[in-house]
Amino acid sequence: MTAPTLTPAPVAPAAPQPGRRVRRRQENLAGYVFLSPWLLGLLGITAIPMLISLYLSFTDYSPLIPLTEANWIGLENYRRMFTADQSYWHAVQVTITFALVAVPLKLASALAVALLLNRTMRGISVFRGLFYLPSLLGGSVALAIVWVSMFNRDGAFNSFLAIFGIEGLPWVNDPDWALSTLILLAVWQFGAPMVIFLAGLKQVPVELYEAASVDGASPWRKFVHITLPMLSPVIFFNLVLETINGFQGFTSAFVLSNGTGGPVDSTLMYSLNLYIAGFVDLNMGYASAMAWVFLLVIGAITVLLFNTGRFWVHYSDNEER
């Protein structure tokens, strides 16, 4: 972060120059100077590596050889992915299951808690803070480790069940349940969408509720006919964001399975499978191909969401105009 604080110094004395047009131009250029750290970052860290990875996806590149020695193999990586690699399709299936279950549950709990917290009450901000806390720990490794030990055979959750005389399962080590514990972990971190929902709820004009009350509407009707439509842009925003996040799940699956996607591939999320292909099996060309397909699919899903949004997202300012 030193670059942006250093660069203004040289530009400032350059500004007071004769000639208005020159000056205007200089201001533009000064803008570019200010922009350059970001621009270089975009090019160097995002754009160029992305293009290189696109190229690599058509090669047999391994991280152990220089880039220039990678052999061009055309669409072979893509052919293998779609026709020959069983674990690829398994990972796709795991990821879709994860996203389809975790995203709606997370949004629903975020909205439910936001509704509960949307009131004036002594100490309400403490509650808000507490509910937000898990998401601050976000994708942290420590949290995943704690989660694993909680849902072990002799973990805290089973001790809790034992109080009621229920014998628990080895949740994280059971192929039928491992993914569910990951979903639960994701759902529990509902803080970020919750805060956005809270902000959205505050924007709903109180007059609408008052008018509805005068008309004798029940709380449920108010929720369905006022809250949900007024909140729909926020719901949409959260849905897009969480869907993208959901597909990209990695950390918790990595920690739970020691980086293997086990037991028996039950937690083999797409990103984890990609990581294994690139860094464990040293098949970076193939991993790049996976990454590009992933990017296109997530892009397509986002476009799809935007298109369906037209039918249910209600922007109040459109009508005012």
């Binding site: 030193t2 670059a3 250093l6 660069t7 110094a9 040289p10 004395p13 350059a14 120059q17 020159v22 131009r25 200089q26 250029l29 570019y32 100077v33 350059s36 750290p37 270089l40 391994s62 991280p63 152990l64 050889i65 220089p66 020959a84 055979r153 080895p170 080590n173 059971d174 192929p175 020691n258 980086g259 293997t260 086990g262 037991p263 028996v264 591939d265 860094f279 464990v280 099996d281 040293l282 970076m284």
Partner: protein, 439 residues
């Protein structure tokens, strides 16, 4: 600061191109300044070698001491040491290599040596053995050979080990149970373990169906092998028999429940069930005994895997390899030579990486070692060493580590009863062929 003033002055008679160039160079130069300093130290006659290994704290301590001794003898050589646990080590090494700056010296094992050697990352040490810079005259022939990939010496063994079955002695004595013996058949072993479960209420043994080195010994006992050159050395029927053997063991109650077996299949030594107290026996490498001992207060015993022990062999537990593109290759080779052959270094390193590769050093270490667990390891490995058959496998081909993870995946499918042994065998053969690129 100079680049900044330069960027200002030309702006007096501004042209767009010049300012743009300035805008681009400033951050670049700042970046370059931040990256500078790489070459420092080169002119003072000092050589700094980077060295990277995996292991526990004990290994770091011993390696530190050995390297300090080298620096003491060669004051112009210093080391930039990096070490970490086994998990994630090879990811990091691959990343460093991809970035174009792998360490000058790095520890590697037979899971990956073919990958690195096959792609020209490792320095071919053959010529150094010819000109006397690397002394391998005191190495056992087969141990040296185990470092050769496609006729090139890709790494020097820093330790020798062999398969070791570690059992909980305290548990057996407490329950008045007999100890397992080297040479007992697989069936006898399974019955023994089932009996341990029955009497002690602790599962007798970890399920070995996902343990590749156990499968390897089993195959060799049946006249097969894990690999035949760059092909698989076994067929579906062999794997079916293997999976069925362990299915039988599970049915008899010789092993823990699937989730516990899965826990024990983690690569971490400290997760081995004999160390965590979740089973009476674990399938490890003999040199890991002292490491296991750290996690448990119980006394541990060490024998060969079941079946004919002549199927076992002296394996290089790990190698030290040098980077082919390193700046100080001669010094790097000299350090390898030192770690492998110097009597004082050998004394410091002990058997942490396995038996010392140099037979003279090995003898000396065996005579002076004080750690009781190391002593026990040496005694057992000496005993087993006399029984090794005449042929040892060559170093596994590229894709071996994938074969290992596929074995775990498929074996667990069978363990969790999602596949029959026959289905598992078919799946494993297909996956293993794909992994090593065999036809």
């Amino acid at each position: 600061m100079e680049p900044i003033t330069q960027a200002v002055t030309p702006a007096q008679g501004t042209t767009r191109r010049r300012l743009l160039a300035a805008a681009l160079t400033v951050p670049l130069l700042l970046g370059a300044a931040a990256c500078g300093g790489d070459d420092a130290g080169g002119d003072s006659g000092k050589t700094e070698l980077s060295i990277f290994w995996w292991g526990a704290e004990k290994r770091a301590e011993l390696t530190d001491q050995a390297l300090a001794l080298y620096s003491q003898k060669h004051p112009d050589v210093t080391f930039k040491k990096t070490w970490q646990g086994n998990q994630g080590y090879f990811d990091k090494l691959a990343t460093l290599t991809a970035g174009g700056n792998p360490p000058d010296l790095f520890q590697i094992d037979d899971n990956y040596i073919s990958e690195y050697a096959g792609r020209g990352v490792t320095l071919d040490l053959t010529e150094y053995t010819g000109n006397g810079k690397l002394d391998v005259s005191k190495f056992p022939e087969s141990l040296l050979k185990y470092g050769e990939v496609d006729g090139k010496l890709a790494g020097v063994a820093l330790g020798e080990n062999t398969q070791g079955l570690v059992y909980d002695k305290t548990l057996l004595t407490k329950n008045k149970l007999p100890e397992p013996k080297t040479g007992m058949s697989w069936e006898e072993f399974v019955d023994w373990a089932a009996n341990v479960t029955k009497v002690s209420k602790l599962p007798g043994t970890q399920d070995a169906s996902a343990v590749y080195q156990a499968l390897w010994v089993y195959l060799r006992q049946n006249g097969k092998d894990l690999y035949a050159g760059k092909q698989l050395g076994f067929d579906e029927a062999d794997i079916t028999k293997w999976f069925a053997l362990w299915k039988g063991a599970r049915d008899k109650g010789a092993t823990p429940t699937p989730d516990v077996i899965h826990e024990g299949n983690a690569s971490d030594v400290s997760k081995q069930l004999v160390a965590t107290g979740k089973a009476g026996t674990s399938w490890v490498w003999a040199n890991q005994m002292p490491e296991l001992k750290k996690s448990t207060d119980n006394e541990l015993g060490l024998i060969a895997y079941p079946g004919d022990p002549s199927a076992q062999w002296a394996r290089a537990s790990m190698y030290m390899s040098a980077f082919r593109g390193g700046k100080h290759k001669d010094v790097a080779v000299d350090v390898i030579n030192f770690l492998a052959n110097d009597p004082e270094a050998g004394k410091i390193l002990g058997t942490d990486r396995g038996l010392p590769p140099n037979l003279d050093v090995r003898k000396q270490v065996a005579a002076t070692v004080e750690d009781p667990n190391m002593k026990q390891t040496i005694a057992v490995m000496d005993e087993l060493g006399k029984k090794y058959g005449p042929t040892a496998p060559t170093v596994p081909p590229q894709g071996h580590s994938k074969v290992r993870s596929e074995l775990i995946r498929v074996a667990e499918e069978v363990i969790y009863s999602r596949q029959t042994p026959e289905q598992g065998a078919a799946a494993f053969v297909t996956a293993a062929k794909a992994a090593i690129g065999a036809s």
